[in-house]
Symmetry: D2
Subunit: 158 residues, 4 copies
């Protein structure tokens, strides 16, 4: 039988020593430059609060690309990730045409789920923090195991 | 071999008398009420110009629904419509929370294409006019004939 | 000096008896019918997870309208609400053209903030739950008190 | 009195020799790399047809930036550009995560308007062509003259 095991990566400690998932040699994180687009901004002139989730998704995709994996290719193989939980704390507004920096980190992973954390900044200024949980599903939306080769990307050592 | 024939409906005259497509007993048109949503509005406080195309699409879907056809169901059957041409002339801005009226008309149809025309109004005030051409394709994007039952909806007589 | 006082409404108990905010005679909630639009759906055919926040915003606006207040008018008076926190738990996907029901409730209010909770359903099926905190700001983004007449809408008794 | 004069730039000939607008020393055009984002794609897996107008807008903004002008700064000075006409001819679909190249050209300018033309390509493959007219307005939406310094950017000679 398949046993899920929680495992925290990056600056956090593993919560399950016995888990045989690979240990990372380097933190799983991506830094992405983003420029706020005109139709992403609302009547206040602020980046609409729903757009932060779209930025976070871009961060996840680029983090995956850093690992040598294209999310578009995953979907062609019938492997999808759906967001099951999302949280954003908005500190300061982002405005049209501002260049922002998004830090995306994997903070936990199991055999079926990833937890990511996000920091969106303008220069050093923290604009927002976020967290999401994504789950691996097949084309029909059924929960499936994350493929082994995806759990052991370049940058991981066992 | 299959011969396409242009056919105008509504207030326009047929351009091809020999075409054996059904004649409409009533004009093919839909009137849709729409309220401008917050994230659809840009930093000027105006409905973003790209959104008009999204409204037009809503008009087409509702016109189809009036004919007893669900576009969602069409897609499940592998019948898709893709936009091959779109044109908008913007006269006056629409603002957040304003209630607008969209008139959508079929102005021409062939065995593979529909041409629609649109008028977006606030009360009597004309905000924008538009026109699109949509083509019928299968799941792979190949041009296919519009199914016969779709060309002869309720409201048509032969 | 201004003292904030937490106050829960609806099914929750007040956390601050001494707070002199009005008591509601009826629960502050709105039920909104929404139909999923084509460009709101992603490549999986699911309502994109960022769109849920846009739906929640529509729910807040309609709840306000039920209270006799137009958010568009508020903005013209220099009164804005910004989202400071948002959370969504996604249970089941929503698909293109499905008709959904969104329940929006005020669960807490202070002199500068509202907390809302949301349930998005397809029929009886719960698709997602959410929670947001919005804060009242002026045109420059400075935190301001929610106007008294807004805190004492129809449906409230003191 | 102010007399408008049509003037075509780039590969087109001037239609009004007497017009005292500056002659360009170099073609006014920008080439922009864009990667299709997940929420920009619809249920067919194609870049939604309304998004092309958003891409074109990005092209205009970057072309302006090439000229040393930030559109965000223009708006702060009370100078806005609104789209008065848009046209797109869609040839081939763009898909999620594909890297596209957008060519944006000024094809005509008067003292109040710019006409742009666009080509969106995947590699050498032409996906879509477009054209827009934008007009210069003030904060209240009234048509104003394009500031002289904006009509004579770097890259122009008189």
């Amino acid at each position: 039988m398949y046993r899920l095991c929680g495992r925290t990566v990056g600056s956090l400690q593993s919560t399950d020593i016995s888990c045989n998932l690979p240990r990372m040699s380097a933190p799983l994180q991506n830094t992405l430059k983003l420029r706020v687009r005109y139709p992403e901004v609302d009547a206040m002139g602020y980046l609409h609060h729903s757009r932060f989730l779209q930025y976070f998704e871009l961060g996840r995709v680029e983090l995956l690309r850093d690992m040598g994996v294209s999310y578009a290719d995953l979907e062609k193989q019938g492997i999808y990730f759906v967001v099951t939980k999302a949280e954003v704390r908005y500190k300061l507004p982002a405005r049209y045409d501002e260049e922002l920096t998004l830090l995306t980190k994997v903070v936990k992973q199991t055999h079926v789920r990833y937890d990511h954390a996000y920091e969106l900044r303008k220069g050093q200024l923290l604009l927002a923090e976020g967290a999401t949980t994504i789950a691996c599903v097949d084309r029909s939306g059924q929960l499936i195991q994350i493929p082994d080769w995806l759990l052991k990307p370049a940058g991981f050592t066992t």
